[in-house]
Amino acid sequence: MDRLAYEITESLRIAMAQIRANKMRSALTALGVIIGIVAVTLMGTAIRGIDIGFDRSLSMLGDDVIYVQKWPWNQVDDWWNYVNRPPMRPQDAVALNAVIAATPNSELEVAVFCDARQSTVKANGASVSGVFTRGTTADYGRIVSTDFEEGRMFSESESESARQVCNLGYDVAHALFPGRSAIGGTITVQGQPFTVIGVLAKQGSFLGLFSFDNYMLMPLGAYRKYFGIRDENTELQVKIRDKTRVPEARDELIGAMRRVRGMVPGERDNFSINEGQAFKKQLDPIKQGIAFAGLFVTGLSLFVGAIGIMNITFVSVRERTKEIGTRKALGARRRTILLQFLIEAVAICAVGGFAGLGLTYGLCAVVKSAMPSFPLVFSVSLVFTSMFVAIMTGIVSGFVPALGASRLDPVVALRYE
């Protein structure tokens, strides 16, 4: 065993001397690996980032909230079966809450009616367009997954009396009231003034592209009064008690909704139950497809780097055939020669991998500072994975030439000029 350790130490020393002696050649070969590793690791960070972005956007939908809507979230081919369904109405939420209250040990907690539209919000001469404006009731405060940065949700009485108050998402509040509190400020939507009574905490954005904080909430009464309820977009949001029991809650909700709608057995549901976890399952194959295609394409560049390593190892074996013969004459076994060239290939790959990793880290930092919310995630596991990949590249591509070297006939090798 000692012998093997000494051989490895010696091989490492020789490998380093070899790299130093052939700086340009080693650098060019390592460059191939560097490019490959940078491509693969950048792809890795992007895939992880997209993953996290997806997850975050789904938790925005609320993993403990089930949506009752006219249309299902997945694409339907038989649209004619859906188009004549009745829309969700505010009284559906009231009736559903009554059913929930009457059900012992209900899986459901509360149902809230919502309608939403895009609008332009103005204050102090500034304006924010495309704000997702949601009219709802005070119960929405029990559903919303975000904390309040400051202020409060509007109350039951404010909601019912159509008071012109509102809650702003983080981005809207900070765009209209830069550097100061929005609470007590007045904004206008389609010429109607609303007093800000609450600002919600920042949630971030999806892939750095779509902000989750560009929205406002207002009492349903005021919303109906000034914008009117458009039946197509209305929904009931139902909070469940235990997010590990989504299927049970879903079943109960279907039963409860059928009672609310007064449907007879055998009649088809005239509403759709939508929820994030099922949606997530639909997204998984897409995510996997992106990840696979991305890694395949970037993997090709690493493959080119691996060919470079294999080539340089062949050259190295050829150049040093006489040395191999000498070493064999002095008592080097096959294993010794194999290890020597393998370690050389791995050393170049490890250097390349390390440099590539550093470069990726730098690129991530640049992207982060330019686009703070773009989800590139540089992680410790990435460091280990890419070093592992780099070293495996060295082993795999160095193996064939190293094996050839180890099997050389010492007589032939010694005679080689």
Partner: protein, 243 residues
Amino acid sequence: MTPVAPVEARAVRPVGPLVISIEGVTKLYHMGDETIHALRGVSLSIHRNEYLAIMGPSGSGKSTLMNMLGCLDTPTSGKYEFNNHDVAAMVDDELADIRNREIGFVFQTFNLLARSDALKNVELPLIYAGIPPHERHERARQVLESVGLKDRIHHKPNELSGGQRQRVAIARALVNRPSIILADEPTGNLDSKTGVEIMALFEDLYELGNTLIVVTHEESIARHARRIVRLRDGLIESDGPVD
């Protein structure tokens, strides 16, 4: 031509036990359709403390016999025993081990590792023998001193003269205390003055009790030995003491 050392200096030492025993060894090479009989049945015994020269023109089988003696190659048929080990039956790694322990090679072209200093070059066989670093350095330094390179330990081959390089190679051959030292044209790449110095070093090694086999085509070099084996066409033509 390298001058021959004075005859009175050349005492013949008593020989020790049998080291190498070759009986009826043949070696065939296939080159395309042609079969070459490099050795056609060679028998040879070499004892410890012998100083032997193997001579012959090119194509005589001299190199093949040397490769065989050096355990770099195995015979096609015949018997080869090295210290009672059956070399003919050995596989690659066993041959590597016996070369490492039993044989010290000295090459015409020195065959030093260019990027390693003299000490590292001499240590190499000890690495393959699994000797720990400290002992390695110590032994390598001692051997380098004994061949007169005390001041050149950390020089790389390209910082050494031809004679010094061959001394490093000889130190490398000696360092693992082998049973035989096998030198292939050891003065072939040296000027005649340096050649004389190297042959004097061989003489010292012989006096110290080493077993030397020198392969050469130069009569004057061969005459340094105590016994000359002459090959022709794959057979031993003559085998006897230097007259």
